[in-house]
């Protein structure tokens, strides 16, 4: 029967459009890998006239790549730590209790990521200008931690909603105080969700460029280094090598976050 839509397979056209769409999402990134091996360093000629692995060595020895890499790692680490503390706290407060202003607070948490990065960046830039704060690592961290809070919050609040309140009461009945309950009951149950949130936050911060260009001043994070190379290229394949590094540093935590939380209704990464 034709009308039995649900159990019937998809039409060929739909299948091609769906699979084609997925391929469209993934294939461009493969080119980054290909071009890291090309011998042509002045243009983006396709197909590459020849292949070489020399650019990995060249990139390794380029002194201008290491300081931005360290700065990016440092900023991402500090921002993730701050976001994990603040995000978990606000998730703990929002998960169980209803109070006045709850809706407004949830809007406030989402706003930094819902509004375009240019607005967050320009707002911070305006504030630094008014308060005459000089650019430093901390001005970058200020922006990053702000938009990372929502990532940790989303993961933590989903897990807390699923957690039964009974285990906390049981812990109290067995004589544990609030801190012992947190240490031995709450944190082990939240662990993987927090880790997943932290990893996504790290990936987001490591890769962020729009807000960072407003809050970094003369400092250069790895994405800012890449952006400069895109605007004024030199040794183009080296940029590809760095792009592969950036891709790997964001890809691995995202995949881990997925495996840490998969199978629940709270799979990490469903929204950015």
């Amino acid at each position: 029967m034709r009308s039995d839509d649900g159990r019937q397979g998809a039409s060929l056209a739909l299948r091609i459009a769906a699979i084609g769409g997925l391929l469209f999402l993934h294939l461009p990134i493969l080119l980054i890998f290909l071009y890291a091996f090309t011998i042509e360093e002045r243009t983006y000629a396709f197909p590459p006239p020849g292949l070489t692995t020399q650019w990995f060595g060249v990139a390794w020895n380029r002194a201008d790549i290491w300081p931005p890499l360290y700065l990016s790692l440092k900023v991402a680490a500090i921002s993730t730590l701050l976001a994990m503390i603040l995000g978990t706290l606000v998730a703990g407060a929002m998960a169980r209790t209803r109070f006045f202003g709850r809706e407004q607070i949830s809007l406030l948490i989402i706003l930094p990521i819902a509004l375009p990065g240019v607005i967050t960046g320009m707002s911070l830039r305006s504030a630094f200008a008014i308060m005459e704060i000089p650019f430093s690592v901390w001005t970058i961290v200020l922006g990053h931690a702000t938009f990372c809070i929502v990532i940790v919050y989303n993961n933590a609040v989903a897990r807390m909603r699923r957690l039964s309140g009974g285990i906390m009461e049981a812990s109290a009945d067995l004589g544990a105080n609030a801190f012992q309950t947190m240490r031995y009951v709450l944190l082990p149950n939240l662990g993987s969700a927090l880790l997943a949130g932290g990893m996504l936050a790290f990936a987001l911060s490591f890769d962020e460029v729009i807000v960072t260009t407003f809050t970094a001043g003369q400092q250069s994070t790895l994405p800012i280094w890449m952006l400069n190379e895109l605007v004024r290229p030199r040794q183009r394949p080296v940029t590809n090598v760095v792009a592969i590094v950036v891709f790997a540093v964001t890809f691995v935590p995202i995949l881990l976050a997925y495996y840490l939380t998969r199978g629940g209704s709270e799979t990490a990464g469903a929204g950015k």
């Binding site: 649900g6 769409g21 080119l31 240019v118 320009m122 105080n177 729009i210």
Partner: protein
């Protein structure tokens, strides 16, 4: 025998206090994040608004912290209005492109994908969503360059005249794809596509199968069921996705800077004005434009029921 356990120290005493006053614990937990978001984020937004009411002294180039509407008068000059309209036009066409491309993927994932395919579709959308923004943009610079893969493919398949004809079109065309509005549009659609797929898929998954059966029982063809049942029920998801694609396009300045013409978008104007030009008040006024547009957009989306799909 005492029913009350002996207190073992500060931890126990605090536990008792939190038990008697649950609001105290709530306050202690919510205060640090609220202070952070309130000071850093809302404070900065307030600073942005404040800056936009300052003006820059034309002779000295110094920001004068006095309330004025001068900067907004400047914002509404013809050349700046051009930038705003160009950005809005791009945001709207990117949103449309994303919706058309996303629909088959979301529909297939919601209705037909099962078991491992379901997971594959989820990962297949989530990984590009989260993977590095700059890497994605860079990949498209390689693709769209004159000597890049599209030009090569056109040469191999003998379709170079078609490519040249497309590039010859007024307004959207250009010297090569990487220096045309068409190229900018393609990259925007690619980068924001996952943001459209996910809410669309969520909305489609909520369409009950029984409704489709009822529609078929009442004699509707597949096309009629699609137009009158599936599409209206998927609309909140489309609108939710469009919030992201519209807002992200409107605020982006990296993509048009790397792939596109020299004509500027709002994000580029903000970036250049605060940087090289040093005109922070006008940059701030420019940044207020997307905020106002998004507030209107969100208001309309809320009335269309899009927030239930988020």
């Amino acid at each position: 025998m005492s029913a009350v356990l002996a207190e073992r120290g500060l931890g126990d005493r605090l536990t008792g206090l939190f038990w008697r006053r649950p609001n105290l614990l709530l306050l202690l937990m919510i205060a640090p994040p609220l202070i952070w978001l309130g000071l850093v984020y809302l404070g900065s937004l307030a600073a942005l608004l404040l800056q936009s009411f300052y003006y820059i002294d034309e002779f000295s180039g110094v920001v004068v912290p006095e309330f004025t509407l001068k900067t907004y008068v400047e914002l509404f000059r013809a050349q700046n209005l051009d930038i705003i309209f160009r950005t809005l036009l791009m945001s709207a066409s990117v949103t449309l492109g994303c919706a058309l491309l996303a629909f088959p993927i979301a529909y297939y994932a919601a209705r037909y994908a099962r078991g491992p395919w379901k997971a594959a579709f989820y990962l297949g959308v989530m990984l590009p969503l989260w993977s590095s923004y700059l890497v994605k943009v860079y990949a498209w610079k390689l693709i769209l360059a004159k000597e890049g893969i599209i030009g090569w493919a056109a040469g191999v398949t003998g379709t170079t005249p078609i490519l040249d004809a497309v590039l010859g079109l007024p307004f959207i065309g250009g010297n090569s794809l990487s220096t045309s509005f068409l190229g900018t549009w393609m990259v925007f659609v690619y980068v924001w596509l996952p943001y459209m797929i996910l809410p669309m898929q969520a909305a489609l998954e909520r369409v009950p199968l029984s409704m489709l059966e009822a529609s078929a029982d009442l004699g509707a063809s597949h096309g009629q069921t699609f137009r009158t049942v599936i599409l209206p029920l998927a609309m909140p998801g489309v609108i939710a996705g469009s919030i992201f694609t519209f807002s992200l396009t409107m605020g982006d300045y990296i993509i048009p800077q790397i792939i596109g013409t020299s004509a500027r978008f709002i994000g580029q104007a903000v970036y250049q004005l605060q940087g090289t030009a040093g005109n922070i008040p006008l940059a701030a006024a420019f940044a207020v434009v997307p905020i106002v547009i998004m507030l209107i957009y969100l208001h309309l989306a809320k009335r269309a029921g899009a927030f239930d799909a988020l």
